[in-house]
Amino acid sequence: MRDADPSTNEREFLLAALKDGARIDGRKFYDFRTLRLTFGAEYGAVEVQLGNTRVLAKVSCEVIRPYTDKPTEGFLMFNTELSPMASAAFEVGRQTDEEVLVSRLIEKAMRRSRALDTEGLCIVAGEKVWSIRVDIHFLDHDGNLVDAACIAAITALLHFRRPDVTVVGEDVTIHTLEQRNPVPLSIHHIPICTTFAFFNNGERMIVDPSFLEEQVKEGDMTVTLNVHKEVCALSKAGGIPMEIDQILQCTKIAVVKVAEITAQIQAALEADAKKR
């Protein structure tokens, strides 16, 4: 089932409102929707709600043999299949362009920015390394899947604890959660995506577009930053051409947003740690 295009009335109303300086859900141009983080009972399970967009991330690990050319490198894998639960437009077993873009962006933001220390996942060089798997389940699609997925993935990785191991000579013992306290992953920095949508020939830009806004937009751009004001990834796949100044302005707005979101993630993690 394809998503129905918004009616002319809806489209015109949204564009007219934007021209008058308002968004239809009452947000300011550079506001995110309310972000809610819920942790599961086990380590590494996080449900993220960004307004009506809902994403579940689950981290799991296993011990595998590394590649021979990189004997000390652990693995980090993402599974970002779009489920038809999020929208009936997503079909099982058929990748849409949107799905490819979303998974590529997550990959770039998290793996290629070296957010996770993969060398730290090595147990015995050339023999055994940890493979960390992040399953991202999209439950409800109300726009901006990328930002929600990115927040879910990094929060789940921060929340996750892997079993402790001891190596004596050639013998490797993996301790169960009851035997020894599990250990957190070593994470270098927290990359956070901020997505912008452009309207009115690129003159009007907004943060965190909703589904309707995504359908009407002229172009979009995703900036991935961390709190140290470092750009981890930047993606502008098509859409209307932009001026360089605007891109700079986007990154400046993103810096503020990233600081807010990072603070919220850390506060949520601390609150959860106290409960355990």
Partner: protein, 243 residues
């Protein structure tokens, strides 16, 4: 005897239920159902447009998609899809919506055993939420026969499943439910209608029927819970309309 999960005192005790309906905004109906730390989310879209090759001239096509918590869908998930679809097909009044499709997506949110039973209960709540016409309501419960004690344990956790000699999942409809005001004769006259039964492992005939009996009694609680959940939801909706 205390159970392995330490929260339950009896072998025939179910974990606490939790349900929530109408959670998702893009689906026509959705629900989450929990048995303790096992949780399943289900969404329903339909009756809607259907692909030409799946179209049935006299009834709605029911499509079930089961998605695991970790990894890509495998054979186990395909088996669950088939179990859900074939159990629901006779239950849904699909003849009322010919040449349409009803898509059901089942997503495991937390896994601590008895996932198939949890999925059945979540699905029926989501179908009710979507307003799909149904013949009756179902309720599902899993039980195991413990390998050491030969005791029948209801609603097992992952840990308990590891010690199971055999595992049995039963689904019953609510047409034959024993209500509090039914007389003794009614109770004896009810014909238990089993919608689905799945057993794995080694077990005797007596064990199987004992399991079925225990699960049937336990399912009455699930039926009652579903009834209350729907009732509460409708009352809330009524209040919203009148306020």
């Amino acid at each position: 005897m205390s159970r392995l999960d330490r929260t339950r005192t009896s072998a025939h005790q179910l974990r606490p239920f939790f349900s929530s309906q109408n959670l998702l905004n893009r689906a026509d109906g959705s629900a989450q159902f929990d048995f303790g730390e096992s949780s399943v989310m289900c969404s329903v879209v339909g009756p809607a447009e259907v692909k030409l090759r799946d179209e049935k001239l006299d009834r709605a096509t029911i499509e079930v998609v089961v998605r695991p918590l970790v990894g890509l869908p495998g054979i186990k998930d395909k088996a669950r899809e088939q179990a859900l679809r074939e159990t629901l097909e006779p239950l849904v009044l699909s003849g009322l919506h010919p040449r349409t499709g009803i898509q059901i997506v089942v997503q495991t949110m937390k896994d601590d055993g008895s996932i198939l039973a949890t999925a059945f209960n979540a699905t029926i709540l989501a179908l009710l939420d979507a307003g799909i016409p149904l013949k009756s309501i179902l309720g599902a419960v899993t039980c195991i026969v413990d390998a050491e004690t030969n005791q029948i344990l209801l609603d097992p956790t992952t840990q308990e499943l590891a010690n199971a000699k055999s595992t049995h999942t039963f689904v019953f409809d609510n047409k034959s439910s024993i209500t509090s005001d039914s007389t003794q004769e009614d109770k004896e006259a009810v014909e238990v209608s089993t919608l689905y039964s799945d057993s794995t492992g080694l077990f005797s005939e007596e064990e199987y029927f004992e399991c079925a009996q225990i699960c049937y009694k336990a399912v009455q609680a699930v039926h009652g819970f579903i009834r209350t959940a729907v009732q509460k939801k409708l009352e809330k909706e009524q209040q919203q309309i009148h306020s």
